[in-house]
């Protein structure tokens, strides 16, 4: 349970080598009418955010529960609204990058845009902002013929785009 506390805002010093950036791509596959979601994050940051180093993501000893924990984490930290309604997305899978540094997490939204009905999108992206104070989350939306580039931070964790047609 989170207990509300009153805080005075005070600065921190930077810690070394913390380059905290995540990349998310929402690619609309017009053939299948699916929104394909790819989230790329550093495994180290993910483990830190899950407060559970013991998951051993991407190793032979990876905990069985890790998939469920990861699945839930992103569902709570990347929220997508189409026409002001939350859209549920379904798990596709995860894989480790070739350089072993990052993990790719895949989700999918079926029948995303039947009959051009999507007029606006709202994204709430709070990935890792609880753990690192200088987190940036970069999102690229490739929808129909347009690209939308967004950067989310702790202070700017909700953004809306109107679909250009």
């Amino acid at each position: 349970m989170f207990k509300p506390l009153i805080f005075i805002t005070l600065p921190l010093i930077l810690s070394f080598h913390d380059f905290h950036v995540t990349h998310t791509t929402l690619h609309y596959n017009s053939d299948l009418e699916n929104m394909e979601i790819t989230i790329k994050v550093a495994i180290e940051d993910l483990e830190l955010s899950l407060d559970n180093i013991e998951l051993r993501i991407g190793t032979l000893n990876e905990k069985k529960s890790s998939e469920e924990i990861i699945k839930n984490y992103f569902k709570n930290h990347l929220i997508i609204y189409g026409n002001n309604k939350i859209i549920d997305y379904k798990w596709v899978g995860k894989e480790i990058s070739d350089n072993l540094h990052d993990i790719y997490i895949y989700y999918e939204i079926s029948n995303f845009n039947q009959n051009d009905k999507i007029k606006s999108l709202i994204l709430e992206n709070t990935i890792f902002i609880e753990t690192t104070h200088n987190q940036s989350n970069i999102v690229l939306i490739e929808f129909e013929d347009n690209d939308y580039n967004l950067t989310f931070t702790k202070d700017l964790n909700r953004q809306k785009i109107e679909i250009i047609r």
Binding site: F7, L10, P11, I13, S15, T59, G93, N99, T126
Partner: protein, 778 residues
């Protein structure tokens, strides 16, 4: 001479439409405009060729330091004598000294200027760290600042910088010595972070101290910045002059100390056995020899000695000094042959680092020294040390602190292994950039991190084939470069203001250099120029202009467009192959051409009604009634008559032998249209696939864009008919959109689509095992 206008007729075979773009103003906005306005004017200190000028100078700072570690209170007490020599032609009235520890002082500017915000969801870990940082009593506590006659010196402290007044001006060639006595509280790295500090092992009460920025250090004075006294805010690292060091380090007598330079009193701090093993290591070029064993370290861990020992180190011509101390240290060593000279590779690590560290650390140090020496200059320092330090990678001359800790059960993941090897290569590599090729880190992070990350990639690939490198290959930077431009800053941005630090100062410059080497300049020209830069600026202070100019000067490749695009802008690469037109020569010979035209006419797509009428109308009027026929009914436009033949022979008579040869050659002419969507001009690399399935690669330098950087056309004369063209087939330009790189157009599957496709096909290993078992039970 009589000129006869002779024309060859072509016929066009394919046609695709393309959008047209054009922009113009009244200034020279050419992407190939030279960099004059961007670079400083060459002078007697730095030449237009990028070399040190005939009056190049640099200052010297020599140090005699005594420090003592209080292990119980985690306090470091020290005193030092700094001797500063003014080699500049300028008269100095004051000196600036750096007090880097002050970044951890309460309410330092480093803390105050870090923007942050609060929300109602913060982890306890984060809040704890915030509390620990605010409560830590950091920073140098200065006891006295005196000259060598013990007179107090007037000084003022501005945050991380201290100005010392000189009683009389310091002129060219003169030296000034002064003493500082100080102490500071050592930070717990695990609680509040930091490049140096200690890690405490709670279960046994021991710590590993990795100590740096532990003494007031001279700032750099030169003709570029005057005094480089830009405050230390945390990100922009260090700018330091060269000098000679003698350092006495007093620690509990059961500690083992690693440091910059050479240990000169081994007999008073090591056992006879250890010295014997060390001597053995000096002749062992194949395997590391263990000098302090794991058993000895475990024995030391059990008790804490109350007595102390002093370790004395000396280092010549270094820009800084770092050290590490712990009773937990295991120490191994091996000799490395660098162009006939023996250099020692050392590693210091606790038992918690094994088995990884014993197997890899020293070997990786040795490998790094060899590869970097090959591409820059021979490593001239006597040793290079890698110290185990959880969670960080940090570099000092001859010594660096590196992460890579196995699980408590001794197993480790692939990621831990390659992460550790990568960080050791990187931090050992920093000996070259910036410790030897001593750039201004406070101003330009990329000059050491970017160049070093580039050589790290080369060194990793020489360590193991297909080493899982993070940074270097062009396609790894695509995601960053195509991202939101408001979150990107050009490489030429001051260290403190950089957005996306890792991609900006490490990844992008490393990739840019890789592209120069593999694609723009070629390995031979690049390697020579890069080595020239290293040789020119070894043990000196280079600037970005010196690097840019040397790379051109030594290679005869105009790279101004490349520096402009890759280093001064946020543009990305997106070149599109918009259109391919196919032409064949019209031979003029009516017999040949009429046949071709006839075939074309017959193969044309026809309206469905016409084809259906062929069978549904058995005979038309003109087919059953001869009286309905006239000249036009039977006229065959593709039939050759005598007049056509006469025209042809007249045409042929006008042609000379060479021209006739061209007519006969039957070549294919392909006109390709390209547009530049991303903004960065880059070479155009094309792979043509022909009807017989053979391929040919054609490489066109970036200068193809010199007159029009938005769109260009180019004709290719090929023997064979083309079925397929691909732009950037070997992924060497960091083109962010591969979907406009092919003719005929094709969509490259996304990573998501590839994953999903593969995932559909295979069951997971566990499912397969269960199914196999079920089958065998049947």
């Amino acid at each position: 001479m009589q000129l006869i206008q002779k024309k060859i007729n072509f016929f066009i075979l394919f046609l695709f439409l393309t959008p047209y773009m054009c922009a113009q103003d009244n200034l020279n906005n050419s992407k190939f405009k030279q960099l004059y306005e961007k670079l400083p004017t060459p002078n007697v200190y730095r030449t237009a060729s990028g070399a040190p000028g005939h009056e190049y100078y640099q200052q010297k700072a020599d140090y005699q330091i005594n420090v003592e570690l209080d292990e119980e209170k985690n306090i470091l007490e020290g005193n030092e004598i700094i001797t500063y020599t003014n080699n500049s032609p300028d008269v100095l009235n004051y000196l600036w000294v750096q007090l880097d520890q002050n970044v951890r002082a309460k309410n330092s500017h480093g803390q105050l200027t870090t923007t942050n915000s609060m929300n109602n969801k913060m982890s306890f870990r984060n809040i704890k760290r915030m509390h620990d940082r605010m409560n830590f009593d950091g920073g140098f506590k200065l006891e006295e600042v005196r000259d060598t006659y013990n007179n107090q010196l007037a000084y003022i402290i501005n945050e991380t910088m201290m100005r010392i007044e000189l009683s009389k001006p310091l002129r060219q060639g003169q030296s000034f010595s002064f003493k500082i006595k100080y102490s500071y509280n050592i930070n717990d790295r695990m609680k509040i972070g930091g490049r140096s500090g200690y890690e405490y092992f709670e279960n046994e009460g021991n710590a590993i101290y990795t100590i740096a920025q532990f003494f007031p250090r001279m700032a750099v004075y030169n003709e570029v910045e005057g005094w480089q006294n830009k405050q230390f805010l945390g990100r922009g690292e260090f700018t330091l002059p060269f000098g000679d060091y003698k350092v006495n380090i007093t620690v509990p007598s059961d500690h083992i100390v690693a440091a910059t330079g050479e240990l000169i009193n081994a007999a008073s701090v090591l056992s006879k056995n250890q010295i014997k093993r060390w001597e053995k290591a000096k002749n062992n070029f194949v395997d590391p020899v263990i000098i302090v064993t794991e058993e000895e370290a475990k024995e030391s861990e059990k008790e804490k000695s109350k007595s102390k020992k002093t370790w004395t180190f000396e280092a010549k011509n270094v820009r800084d000094f770092g050290w590490a101390s712990s009773r937990k240290f295991i120490w191994d060593a091996m000799a490395v042959d660098i162009s006939g000279e023996t250099v020692m590779a050392y590693s210091y690590y606790p038992k918690e680092g094994n088995p990884l560290w014993e197997q890899y650390s020293t070997r990786v140090v040795a490998h790094s020294l060899k590869v970097y020496s090959k591409y820059t200059i021979d490593y001239t320092y006597p040793q290079a040390t890698s110290v185990h330090a959880k969670s960080i990678g940090m570099e000092y001359p001859m010594i660096c602190f590196n992460f890579g800790r196995p699980e408590s059960d001794g197993t480790y993941s692939k990621r831990t292994k390659y992460g550790m090897i990568g960080v050791i290569i990187h931090e050992v590599g920093h000996n070259f950039f910036p410790m030897i090729i001593n750039s201004d880190e406070r101003q330009w992070t990329w000059m050491d991190e970017g160049l070093n990350t580039f050589l790290q990639y080369i060194t990793e690939q020489e360590f193991e084939r297909n080493y899982p490198s993070r940074r270097g290959p062009p396609n790894n930077i695509v995601e960053y470069m195509k991202g939101d431009k408001s979150g990107i800053s050009p490489i030429m941005t001051n260290s403190e203001s950089i957005l996306q630090f890792g991609n900006n100062a490490y990844g992008k410059p490393a990739t840019a250099l890789n592209i120069l080497r593999e694609t723009i300049m070629g390995r031979e020209l690049f390697d020579y120029s890069f080595k020239t830069y290293s040789e020119r600026w070894a043990f000196k202070h280079p600037t970005p202009a010196d690097f840019f100019r040397t790379m051109e000067d030594a290679s005869a490749v105009d790279l101004d467009w490349f520096w402009r695009g890759w280093f001064y802008t946020n543009d990305h690469v997106d070149i599109s192959l918009d259109k391919v037109n196919w032409f064949k020569i019209n031979t003029g010979n009516p017999e040949i051409e009429n046949t071709i035209s006839k075939n074309q006419e017959e193969n044309k797509n026809t309206y469905v009604g016409i084809s259906r009428n062929k069978s549904s109308i058995p005979k038309t009027v003109t087919e059953f009634d001869d009286q309905s026929i006239d000249f036009y009914t039977t006229y065959d436009p593709f039939k050759t008559n005598i007049l056509d033949k006469e025209d042809y022979s007249k045409y042929m008579k006008n042609l000379d032998a060479d021209e006739k040869e061209i007519l006969k050659s039957a070549k294919n002419y392909y006109e390709l249209h390209f547009s530049n969507i991303g903004g960065l001009v880059m070479p155009i690399i094309l792979e043509f696939t022909f009807v017989d399935r053979t391929t040919e690669v054609i490489r066109i330098p970036a200068e193809i864009w010199k007159k029009n950087s938005k769109e260009v056309k180019k004709i290719f004369i090929l023997d064979k008919e083309v079925t397929n063209v691909r732009l950037d087939p070997f992924l060497e330009t960091a083109d962010v959109d591969l979907n406009n790189n092919s003719w005929p157009a094709r969509n490259e599957p996304t990573r998501f689509q590839i994953f999903k496709e593969n995932d559909k096909k295979k069951e997971n290993p566990m499912q397969r095992a269960i199914r196999a078992e079920e089958k065998s039970n049947e």
